[in-house]
Symmetry: C2
């Protein structure tokens, strides 16, 4: 067997995290998967169709962005330093009603894909309107995606008649049923913008198609009182009462949870994705990460959209998530760096039900890989045995492979025309500026 | 008059922050200072000795890092995820006793200077032992610095006999009295490692030399009870009772302040430098920034050393400081981005008593300038009228001038041999690794 690609001269972290990085390793790829990984001497007899020199860089599983609204790159910096309600109702919802159309979703998702690839993300769980065009953009950039069609109770981009939202989502699921990179799913916006009937129908659709159901849950303190007033219970218990929580449901944000909420999430096996930078910038609060992990809840980490962050850089996200959770209990030992690296790789894969396929560098897993350059001034010296999380930055990622394809090499995007994408987004942004 | 340097085709922020960036501007430099700034047409007749094309980049005042221990880059990542007491007593103090010598301070401060210049810092307020060698390193890299010699009650690197610490600091002040880039100062470590006598003598020395006196103050909750037990008052009141607080004193961290502490700091005119990433990673807490600013206290922002951060990137620091203070009061409107830009420029200059010389791009000020490339995928589009703080990263800074000297151009350090510096730091780090 001749591998398609051989990565040589790479470093690998010690699997137990207590020894120095192992230098001079190799990784061989056959088709879309890793077929061998280990010290260079085990690869002596191997000839590959293509050799990529790792130049001493650290190889790690590509990162998994558990929550994004990729197309919202168009609204980056449009409305900073505002409350969530003001931001949503007076800026984002009106801007979405006016500017979100297929062309916008396609180009802005493509730009988002570039930003994510540049900082080591190889899988994104995205949710938006016109998600068909986001899925198309991701597929063309080579980014792996769980692409979820948005469901909401008011007229939305692409679904002017709310009566048709479930049918629209069903068509989307059928259309993308068998793409190698794209897994279609359903995204119900929230318990405060979807009626119980909508929520049940959307989850039913996801169940029947054996796919994921996402929902923004318990993001702000105001949401808690709103749902209490309207539904007589916490958002999590409201979803549970409707029978929506199971291993196929992913609750996004989950900032305001009480003990019973946490117990229910653990018992039902629902997953969670926290978005620390978004929750910070919108001052929503701090998700109780330690309590989630202590209960064995599957937890991933996400960037949220560029309008509420304003970056799609999972490395920055991991760094702030670890530090915020230290501050939460004034305990600097809490939530060490490797907890976050796990959350952004195998943890995120588990939340998306993709842990058999991605999240680790081992034989049989898909070849979703980032190479990190440790040879920069701000990473001198490196004393630890793992990814120097508190010191690296997105731009240290040099090379990215997804599904066995070389998507970025030495910080050049190879899989699509980035310049054209930037030009198209600028054109779209000019229209937004003119109308401000 | 023929300017030495003319920057052409730069963008400038609207001075009132409510209009779009002004493109096609110029900035002329004569000697160490800005001699003209404005729209390109006002420069038509001007010929300069050297022209630097800004290529549409945003020109801003270089950033002012209000607190650093530059030489501690050697200990980056050496002891992450530990409590402050464990970190200090079991890792940092022993490592300092063993490895801090002139050669180490010189090379590791030089590496730190590179990291700071790479992310737009043009002035650092540093404090360490063997500070003479840090000052030498900064001067050679072209970085402007307030370099403060450390004073502490136990045997310290370079000062084995604690009796001689004040004399040692006095000699340092004399030696650097008239350097164009370096302003020497005094750094008393803290109220818990310096006796009242030491504090008074150190401040007296700073006063007699008309220079700054820095001190770590009210960093952790433990420090508050320690000083209460020993001195019968809060750290700030303890310093005030000793007569140490005036416009020449800068309190570092200032996380645990009560209302009376804040009033005293405001009345005495003492300055503060907050270090959000360090306080996060060590879980010390969140400094009450809004209360400080509301009282008109001068507040700057700093990175702290690389052992407790682990980066010296002031752009990352500004971003997290704004967001953390939104979270503090669950108020996303609080502490908008431009507050942080002010703190890292004119605010920081005011804390260091350098506001007449640096912190703004205007005629007569020293030419300390960074050019930021807004033309990257993660900055598309830019809707705001100012620095897109929540989206930029350190590596977006392309070109840096300090005191009229081109220190970095297109991300190449011009002022010193970076490769040699990295080699020397690696050599020093090998010794640390061997002894772990």
């Amino acid at each position: 067997m001749t591998p398609d690609i051989l990565l040589t001269d790479i470093c690998l972290p010690d699997p137990f995290g207590d020894a120095p990085l192992k230098s001079n390793c190799c990784l061989a790829i056959q088709g879309d998967s890793i077929c061998q990984i280990g010290p260079a001497h085990e690869f002596d007899a191997l000839e590959a169709k293509r050799v990529i020199k790792g130049r001493g860089q650290l190889a790690l599983p590509g990162l998994i962005n558990g929550h994004c609204h990729a197309a919202m790159t168009l609204f980056r910096g449009l409305a900073d330093d505002l409350s969530l309600a003001d931001w949503l109702n007076n800026y984002i919802f009106p801007a979405e009603a006016r500017y979100v159309q297929p062309d916008m979703v396609y180009w802005c998702s493509k730009l988002a894909a570039a930003e994510m690839i540049f900082s080591g993300t190889t899988t994104v769980a995205d949710g938006y309107f016109h998600e068909h065009h986001a899925a198309k953009a991701f597929a063309e950039t080579g980014l792996r995606a769980v692409a979820a069609q948005g469901v909401i109770d008011f007229p939305a981009p692409g679904v002017p008649d709310p009566e048709k939202k479930i049918n629209h989502a069903a068509e989307f699921l059928t259309q993308w049923r068998s793409h190698p990179l794209i897994r279609p799913a359903v995204f119900a916006h929230s318990p405060y913008t979807c009626s119980p009937g909508t929520l049940v129908a959307a989850k039913e659709l996801a169940r029947s198609e054996k796919t994921l159901f996402f929902i923004h849950t318990a993001e702000t303190e105001q949401e808690i009182s709103m749902i209490h007033d309207k539904q007589g219970d916490s958002p999590v218990r409201h979803l549970h009462n409707l029978g929506l929580l199971d291993a196929g449901t992913v609750c996004i944000h989950a900032v305001w949870l009480d003990e019973q909420d946490l117990d229910i999430l653990a018992e039902t096996g629902a997953g969670i994705v926290v978005c620390p930078q978004s929750s910070l910038k919108l001052a929503s609060g701090k998700a109780p990460l330690q309590a989630m992990l202590a209960r064995g809840i599957r937890v991933g980490i996400g960037t949220d959209g560029a309008a509420s962050n304003n970056r799609l850089d999972l490395i920055r996200e991991m760094d702030s998530c670890a530090k915020l959770n230290k501050l939460r209990n004034l305990d600097p030992v809490a939530v060490p760096a490797n907890t976050l690296v796990n959350m952004a790789t195998q943890g995120g894969a588990a939340v998306l039900g993709l842990h058999r396929k991605i999240g680790r560098l081992e034989e049989g897993k898909h070849a979703d890989i980032m190479l990190v350059n440790l040879d920069t001034p701000h990473l001198q010296p490196v004393h630890g045995s793992d990814l120097p999380l508190y010191a690296i930055q997105g731009s240290d990622v040099q090379t990215v492979l997804i599904n066995g394809i070389l998507v970025m090499q030495d910080r050049k995007i190879l899989s699509f025309d980035l310049e054209e994408t930037v030009e198209q987004v600028r054109r779209l942004a000019e229209q937004v500026k003119k109308s401000l």
